[in-house]
Each structure stands twice: as structure tokens, then as C-alpha cells.
Amino acid sequence: MRPIEFQILLSLATGERHGYAIIQDIQARPDAPLTVETGTLYRALQRLVEQALVRPAEPRRGQADDDDRRRYYAITPAGRRAASAEAARMASLVDRARAARLISGDA
């Protein structure tokens, strides 16, 4: 799984979001490693939709602070499993790095 795809899944894991909200969420993280551009985001979204890890959510209408032309995206159960597996893999890597004293215990 590419880092941008994991970041999107991570963002959608807490709830449905539109494109710009996803970018904001990713970039708001303290350890945000990425500068996400619009083209990059939507190419990744296309791949995730093709793999059925993400699905377009129902449009939200009638909310004052929202543009009803926006599309929202939601994580699918498969997407959640894939994100969990990837997170576990990363945790395991971190553990190994810690065991190898590449990072300190509280890092």
C-alpha cells in the first residue's frame, strides 16, 4: 500500500470526508510527511475506489456550511481491514526498529 493511500484510509477511518477535508486532515497531522496535491489525492482515491477500499458516500444536502456539489468519501469494511493490516505491519516494524535500538523506547 502506498503511503498516500494509507493516509487517506487513516483520514476516512474517523468518518466521511470530502476531498479538501482529506487534504486538510492529512496535513494537520503533527508528523504529516506529505504535501498532498489535488492530482495526487484523486489518483489515489481512484485506485482505492477501484480496489473497493473506499466508496463515494451519499451527497449531503441542505447543510448550510456545505457545498452540495461536493462528493464525500467513506472507508469500506475492506478498506478498514486493509488499513488495520498496514498499521499492524508498521507497528511491527517500529517494534523491530526499537529492538534494534534505532529509536528510543518512548519514541
Binding site: H18, G19, Y20, I23, T35, E37, T38, G39, T40, L41, Y42, R43, L45, Q46, D67, R69, R70, R71
Partner: protein
């Protein structure tokens, strides 16, 4: 009332829209609007935060849009291309499945052509070119002195000099072949051993299966006699018992320790069954003429065969000039070649090229026929092609669809053909191992290997290129309007007719050459199979006798040994007749030259087969026609005498008797003695039955008056072959226990083996040419049938205008004859070359070659005219009205 003024689209939004076009349309449709919203919101937020145009953000966004868009477009195209190809492949499979007859026929024809080409190439490559299957086998070479084109052995006196001087060849070692008797009394077995410098095993880079190979200490003076066994000898002679190591076996009566067994399939240098050490003193010998050996070595890295050959020639010439200034060896060269190359001699490249060309002709024949089938099919679908073009299908797409059909057919044919070639190669290996056991070079193991698979791939690629090219040409030249207006599925254009005629001419040329080659090969094979040796082979056994040079170092000692063996055999109760002979010269080489005393010479001496003989001439079917026979008493103590054959007497002593005249054997260097002719012998043909030098022109001189290191001993036994073999063993052993009859074989067996090989080769050729003939017959009929079918409408018009059936038939036959004429004309120079080639290599007369050429051409003419006449009759059965109006 004026509506609200629409807000002006900012420039960066227009820029975004422009760059969004880099993405494929499908992507834009799906994601474009949402992307635009996200982008606009992001830029506006940045504007609000920074209070100005966010240039850095815009730069990053635009750059990512462009590169991402192009990337997506590339992937999307690749995906679409794959999808289209997948569709086309499925379509091609469906079309082929719809016509199983066409598919099967095409695959069979292609499999035959491709399989034969692959088989022929692989067979010849293994036999002649493939490096020895040993470590760095491509660098292992044989070093053979050549005098006037003939291969000679190396005098041991030259070995030390060569080894010291040659920089291009390393690990130089000498070896010689010898048959040795392994075992004692009733449990004896003759094996072909190699007596070699232990360095031979270093050259071979092959470790023993177990035990050890020969080492330098084994060759030292006084060392314990040791032997290394081949896998086959160990298996057959010792029951594959591992305990054989360090046991002692009798070799020519001498107790010898077995020190090692080599792995299966190892027979270096050629077909060795055991290896004995060449005494170290042998190569230190400086007196010339005592022993000759063969040389083996490894090319230094980066050195070519030619460079090594040039250096070895220079070194050997210099060495010979230093040690013997009286001998002028004109034309001495040293050939440095791989073992497979040396085995086939100078004609290797020619044989390889010619046989591969013939195989390629069969492939060409197959391709011509498949082309015809594909074109017929393309014609049947021409209307469909035109409709698809009219509906907007691209020519490229239609070509690709045709190509896939061709690729599937060629690959299927290639797979079946290659499987057939693999089976053929395995069968050849089995056959040769069963029938040529012990005489087979160890590298002659035919099987599928990397080179064969690559060759098969190359042949399939050629087939795809040729067939695909023609199919593509047919599609690209489809005139949509013409086909649609014509309303006919045939569209018999002038260009189409030209292609059809070209195919017929190619077919005629190819099949004429193949048939001609087949007929001449058949004639040669038949001659070998039905060869008359000139004498009865009943109860005849032949063996070689080579007294060891160390023990028989003088001419008198050797003559005494030959005489003693002759006398012993003559007195043996089991022996009905005994005959010793040695070939001194042959009719078509310089060593067969002789001079007649008192005959004016124009500088060119006549030639004959020169044979030194001892014993009863009738044993070999030779009768005394005039004068007396050569006798045992005719030895060196008496004046030299000779007999000539009747045919030689008739050609050189016309109208008078040669008895009393004198001749000199100039070809063998015997220029001091005049031999007085004492008798005329009946004719017996000599010479290689495969060669043009087979002739009864012969001169016989007494073996005891002509010194030489060996002789062939022929006996006619009275009761059984076993008793005959024992008589040979006993008689040789009684004269000297170290004398062993070499290669004892019944004469009939020798002839049978020669005939067996010829029969098998002729059967193989027969099968190939039968396939070619069937292809030609079916193919020619198909081509003519198609060609005439294309003219159905024209024939209908001619008949409607009053042309008679006979007239139309005559017209088509004449036109068919014209195509045969063109094909035959193209074939004529090729036939000439093939005919001359056969005459050069085989004893075939010019008239026979000419007759074969005429008969083959006549047969092909008949075949094509018949193939024209039959479809013509069919077309004439259709009424002019139907021909004009019915599809």
C-alpha cells in the same frame, strides 16, 4: 430585469481546467468536477491566509496535475491496449475454433515444416558444431598435421618441440588409440582404450565418478600398470561393482590395477572405453619415425583456431626442417579444430549449409501452402473486412486481428513441430546407441537443448513474419468500395492473380529441388545398400595387426611378425584361408601414382589403388587371370614383383600383356625400386563406396616387400565365428603375447553396418521428401484450385461469349504450364549446383544426374497440369449464368 452577473473565473481555475485535460477523458468525467472544487477551495483558503496569490502552491498543483495526468493517460492507454489485444486474441481463437478442419490442416503443415527444420538444425549442430560437453569445452582442440588435404598423425619426436614453442595452445598432451584385451582365458573382452598423457584429464576438466584419473606418476618408468575405466566398461565388464577400485585385471595379459571409473557419457577424446598412461619416455623420444600420436590441448584465452593453426604450422615446419632436412613436406599445415569439427573434416560447413538449406526449403514449401490457405480464408472474409472498414475499424486493428490468428497457428505448429523434433532427436540417440555402440563419439547425444529451442523460436518467428506480412498485405490492400460494389466475395484482382502465380512458381521451384535431391540421395543409398564387395563375405573375419614399434623397430622384424602370424593362421585347423593386406595408395589421391618403365611421361603419372598383400588371393575373391600370383617367398630378399588388375591392364597395356613390364610406386615415395609385373588379377572394386574413387584399377605388391606398421588380417573360418575369433587370438598370441587382433569383425557385419547407416539415412530422407511431396501435391492442387476459382466469373464470361470448354481448358493448361516453366527455370541453376555437388562427392555419372533432373521436372510438370485440369473441369461444370450471378 438583469440577472446576477456571473463571477469571473479566476485565471488559476482556467489553468487548472486546461491542465486537467492531461488526464484521460474517463478520469476527467469521473473525478474532474470534484477535483476542481477541492483545488478552488484550497487556493482560496491559501489566498485568505496569505493575502495574495499562493504561487508556490499553484506551481506544485499544476506540476502534479500535468505529470499525474500524463502518467494516468499512459497507464490507461496500456490498459486499453491490453484489453483490445485480449479481445483480438479471443476473436482469433473463436475464428479458428469455427473452422477446425482449416486449423488442424494448417497446424499440421506448419508443424511438419517447422519440426523438420528444427530437427535438421539441431541434429547437425550437435554432430558438427556444439562444443564438447566438458568444462570450457569450446576451447578444447585437436592438433592434426595435414599433408595435401589428408590428415596425418604427429611424430612423437615433434611433440616436445611443439609443447615448448606453442604459445596459443596450452596443456598440450598426446594420445593414441589401442584395442586391449581385458581379462583372461574365456572371460576376455576387447575394449577401445586411449593411451594418453595424464594431462588429457586436465584438458577434459572432468573428475572421476570414483577413484582417480591418471596422474603423472603413472607414466613414469617402472610405475605400476594402471587403468581408468569408462562407465560403460565398468558396467558391462565389471557389473558396476564399486569394489573394482584397486583390484587387478589382466590387460593384454599384464596385471593392471584399476584406479578409477569415469562418469557415464564420458569417452574423451572420442569413444574411449578405458585409459592407460602413455609412458613418460614416449614424448621424450627424439628419433623420428618410431611412433605417431594424436595431440590434444586447450586454446589460450582469446586465441582463435586460425591463429593457433598458423602458429602450430610454423612451429612444426621448423621442427621438421631441423631434424630431417632430406624430407620436403610440401603443403604441410596444422589444423587446430574442435573435436566435432575435425570429425567431419573440411566439408563440414558445406554439409551443414546444404542440409539446412534443404530443411529450409521444406519450411518454405510449408509456408507457401499455409499462405495459400490463409489467403483463401482472407478472401472468404473479404466482405466482412470491407464492412468493418466501412464502419470505421482501423486498418491497424484489422491487421492485428489477422496477425493474432497467424501467431496462434504458428505457435501451435511450432510447439507440435518442436515436440516432434525432440522425439526425433531422442529416437536418433536411442538408435545410434543401439546400433553404433562403441563407435559413437561421446558428444553425439541428440536432445533438446537451449540452442535447439532458440532455433525453433527463430523458425516460428520467421513463419509469423512471412505469414503475418502476407495477411497484413491482403488486409491493407482491400479496396472497400470495389468489394462492396462487386457484391462478390472473391474480388479476383490482377494483383491477387500475380501473387497466386508467384506462389505456384515458388512451389514448383522448391519441390523440384527437393525431389531432385531426394532421388539422387535414394540412388546413392541404394548403391551402398546393394554394394557388391567383389568377394564372398561368408565366414570372413577381419582384424587389425599393429606390432608395437618398441618391440618391432625394424622393417625385417615387422615383416617377420606379419609372416609368422600368416603362417600360424595358415596352419590353424579352423582357418580355410588367410590374407593380409595394407592400403598403400588410392586412385584419386597422389599416393596412388605409379610410373611405367619405358612409357613416355607428360609429367602426370597414372593412378591406381595400391595394395600390399600376403596370402591366398582367392580369399578376397581375387583370381589369377594371367601369369602367377604373389607368393610368400616374394620377400625383401628377392626382386620386387607386382600384379595388376585386369581393368588396369586393359587401360594401360592395350592389346598386350603387362607381364614382364616394370612399374614404380611413385605415389608412396618408393622411387628407387622397379617392380616387375608377374601376373594379372581379376577385378575387385576398391575405395570408399561413398566416394568416386571406387574402382577395380589396382596394383598388388607383396606385403613382405613393402614395409609398414600395420596390416589388416582377413581369415575365412571353417566352422563358427567364435572358433574363428579364437583362431585369431591364439595365432596372434602364439607369435607374441603382446600382439592382439584389433577390432575383430565379420566382413558381413562391416558391410551391414555401412548399409544400415545408409538405409537409415535414406529412410530419414525418404520420410522428409515424402512429406515434401505430399505438401507439394496438396499445395499445388490448392493453389491451382484457388487460382482458377478466382477466375470463375471470367471463365463464365468467356463461355457466355462463345468460348468452347476445350478452348478454356487449353487456355488454363497453357497458363498453368507457364507457371511451371517459370518455376522450373528458377530451379534449373539450383539443380545444376546440386547435381555437380553429388557428382563431386559420390560415384554418380553425369547422365544419371541429367536423367534424374529431367524425370523430376517431368513429374512436377505432370503434377501441376493435373492440378490445373481437375479444378478446370469443376469450374466448367458450372453454367455461365451461375458463374456470373451466383455467389
Amino acid at each position: 430585469m438583469r440577472g446576477p452577473v456571473p463571477a469571473r473565473t479566476p485565471w488559476w481555475c482556467r489553468g487548472f481546467d486546461l491542465l486537467l485535460r492531461a488526464f484521460p477523458a474517463a478520469f476527467r468525467d469521473e473525478w474532474g468536477a470534484d477535483m476542481r472544487l477541492t483545488f478552488a477551495e484550497r487556493v482560496r483558503t491559501a489566498e485568505g491566509a496569505g493575502g495574495g496569490t499562493p504561487w508556490r502552491l499553484l506551481l506544485r498543483e499544476f506540476g502534479t496535475l500535468l505529470s499525474g495526468g500524463l502518467h494516468e493517460r499512459l497507464h490507461s492507454n496500456a490498459r486499453r491496449f491490453q484489453m483490445v489485444q485480449l479481445q483480438d486474441i479471443r476473436y482469433a481463437f473463436r475464428l479458428l475454433a469455427r473452422s477446425p478442419g482449416f486449423t488442424l490442416l494448417t497446424v499440421i503443415v506448419l508443424a511438419g515444416g517447422l519440426g523438420l527444420s528444427t530437427f535438421t538444425f539441431s541434429f547437425l549442430h550437435t554432430a558438427m558444431i556444439r562444443p564438447l560437453p566438458l568444462g570450457e569445452g569450446d576451447r578444447i582442440v585437436r592438433i592434426d598435421p595435414m599433408v595435401r588435404g589428408g590428415m596425418e598423425a604427429v611424430d612423437v619426436a615433434d611433440v616436445a618441440g611443439l609443447r615448448a614453442s606453442l604459445a596459443t595452445i596450452r596443456e598440450l598432451g598426446s594420445y593414441t588409440g589401442r584395442e586391449v584385451v581385458v581379462g583372461r582365458d574365456g572371460d576376455r573382452r576387447v575394449v577401445d582404450a586411449t593411451v594418453a598423457d595424464p594431462i588429457l584429464f586436465t584438458v577434459a576438466r572432468t573428475p572421476p565418478l570414483f577413484g582417480r584419473t591418471l596422474v603423472a606418476a603413472d607414466a613414469a618408468a617402472g610405475a605400476e600398470p594402471v587403468v581408468v575405466l569408462s562407465y560403460r566398461t565398468w558396467e558391462i565388464g565389471f557389473g558396476a561393482d564399486r569394489a573394482v577400485i584397486d583390484t587387478h585385471v589382466a590387460l593384454n595379459g599384464v596385471s593392471t590395477r584399476v584406479v578409477g571409473v569415469m562418469p557415464a557419457g564420458f569417452g574423451f577424446p572420442i569413444a574411449s572405453e578405458a585409459w592407460l598412461p602413455l609412458p613418460a619416455g614416449t614424448e621424450a623420444e627424439t628419433t623420428p619415425g618410431l611412433q605417431s600420436v594424436r595431440l590434444v590441448g586447450r586454446l589460450a584465452p582469446g586465441v582463435s583456431h586460425e591463429a593457433a593453426s598458423a602458429e602450430a604450422t610454423m612451429v612444426l615446419r621448423r621442427a621438421m626442417a631441423v631434424r630431417d632436412t632430406t624430407v620436403q613436406r610440401e603443403g604441410l599445415t596444422v589444423a587446430v579444430e574442435s573435436f566435432p569439427a575435425a570429425q567431419f573434416g573440411e566439408e563440414r560447413a558445406l554439409v551443414f549449409t546444404v542440409l539446412n538449406l534443404l530443411a529450409a526449403l521444406i519450411l518454405l514449401l510449408a509456408l507457401v501452402n499455409v499462405t495459400n490457405l490463409l489467403l483463401t480464408r482472407a478472401n472468404e472474409r473479404i466482405r466482412e473486412t470491407a464492412v468493418r472498414l466501412a464502419l470505421g475499424a482501423s486498418t491497424g486493428r484489422l491487421v492485428m486481428q489477422g496477425m493474432w490468428e497467424t501467431v496462434i497457428l504458428a505457435v501451435a505448429g511450432g510447439v507440435v513441430g518442436t515436440a516432434g523434433a525432440a522425439a526425433g532427436l531422442a529416437a536418433i540417440t536411442r538408435w545410434t546407441q543401439a546400433n553404433m555402440e562403441g563407435n559413437l563419439a561421446f558428444w553425439w547425444v541428440w536432445r533438446m537443448d537451449r540452442v535447439t529451442i532458440l532455433a525453433a523460436g527463430a523458425f516460428v518467428t520467421v513463419a509469423i513474419a512471412v505469414l503475418g506480412g502476407i495477411v497484413a498485405r491482403r488486409v491493407t490492400r482491400t479496396n472497400m468500395r470495389e468489394v462492396m460494389q462487386d457484391g462478390s466475395a472473391r474480388s479476383g484482382s490482377r494483383k491477387e492473380g500475380r501473387l497466386s502465380r508467384a506462389l505456384v512458381a515458388t512451389q514448383v521451384t522448391t519441390v523440384t529441388v527437393l525431389m531432385f535431391f531426394g532421388v539422387l540421395s535414394g540412388v546413392v543409398a541404394r548403391r551402398i545398400v546393394t554394394l557388391d564387395p567383389g568377394f564372398s563375405t561368408v565366414n570372413l573375419l577381419q582384424a587389425g595387426m599393429e606390432p608395437a614399434p618398441a618391440r618391432y623397430s625394424t622393417a625385417a622384424a615387422r615383416a617377420a611378425a606379419f609372416r609368422a602370424v600368416h603362417d600360424r593362421l595358415g596352419a590353424h585347423p579352423e582357418v580355410d584361408g588367410v590374407f593380409l593386406r595394407r592400403t598403400l595408395g588410392n586412385r584419386l589421391s597422389d599416393d596412388g601414382r605409379f610410373a611405367l618403365r619405358g612409357s613416355p611421361s607428360d609429367g602426370v603419372l597414372p593412378t591406381a589403388h595400391l595394395r600390399a598383400v600376403l596370402g591366398t588371393l582367392p580369399t578376397m575373391g581375387i583370381a589369377v587371370v594371367e601369369g602367377r600370383a604373389l607368393e610368400e617367398a616374394d620377400d625383401d630378399s628377392r626382386a620386387p614383383v607386382a600384379m595388376v588388375s585386369r581393368s588396369l591392364a586393359l587401360s594401360h597395356w592395350r592389346g598386350r600383356s603387362p607381364v614382364g613390364d616394370q612399374i614404380r610406386l611413385a605415389g608412396v615415395g618408393d622411387t628407387l625400386r622397379w617392380y616387375t609385373i608377374v601376373g594379372v588379377a581379376s577385378d575387385v572394386p576398391y575405395g570408399n563406396p561413398l566416394s568416386r574413387d571406387r574402382s577395380p584399377d589396382a596394383i598388388y605388391v607383396p606385403l613382405l616387400q613393402s614395409d609398414g606398421p600395420f596390416a589388416a588380417v582377413v581369415i575365412r573360418y571353417r566352422t563358427t565365428e567364435v572358433a574363428g575369433r579364437e583362431a585369431l587370438m591364439d595365432s596372434f598370441g602364439a607369435v607374441d603375447p603382446s600382439l592382439v587382433p584389433d577390432g575383430v569383425q565379420p566382413q558381413a557385419e562391416i558391410l551391414r553396418k555401412a548399409g544400415l547407416l545408409a538405409t537409415s539415412v535414406s529412410q530419414l530422407f525418404g520420410a522428409c521428401f515424402a512429406f515434401a511431396l505430399v505438401l507439394a501435391m496438396v499445395g499445388t492442387y490448392g493453389l491451382m484450385s484457388r487460382s482458377i476459382g478466382l477466375r470463375r466469373r471470367e471463365i463464365g464470361v468467356r463461355r457466355a461469349l462463345g468460348a468452347s470448354d476445350a478452348g478454356v481448358t487449353r487456355l488454363l493448361l497453357v497458363q498453368g504450364g507457364r507457371q511451371v516453366g517459370v518455376g522450373t527455370l528458377i530451379a534449373a541453376p539450383i539443380l545444376l549446383v546440386v547435381g555437380l555437388g553429388f557428382q563431386h562427392f559420390f560415384p554418380i555419372s553425369g547422365w544419371l544426374v541429367a536423367t534424374a533432373a529431367v524425370l523430376v521436372s517431368a513429374a512436377i510438370v505432370g503434377l501441376v497440369l493435373l492440378a490445373t485440369w481437375v479444378p478446370t473441369r469443376k469450374v466448367l461444370q458450372v453454367t455461365p449464368r451461375d458463374a456470373l450471378w451466383v455467389e
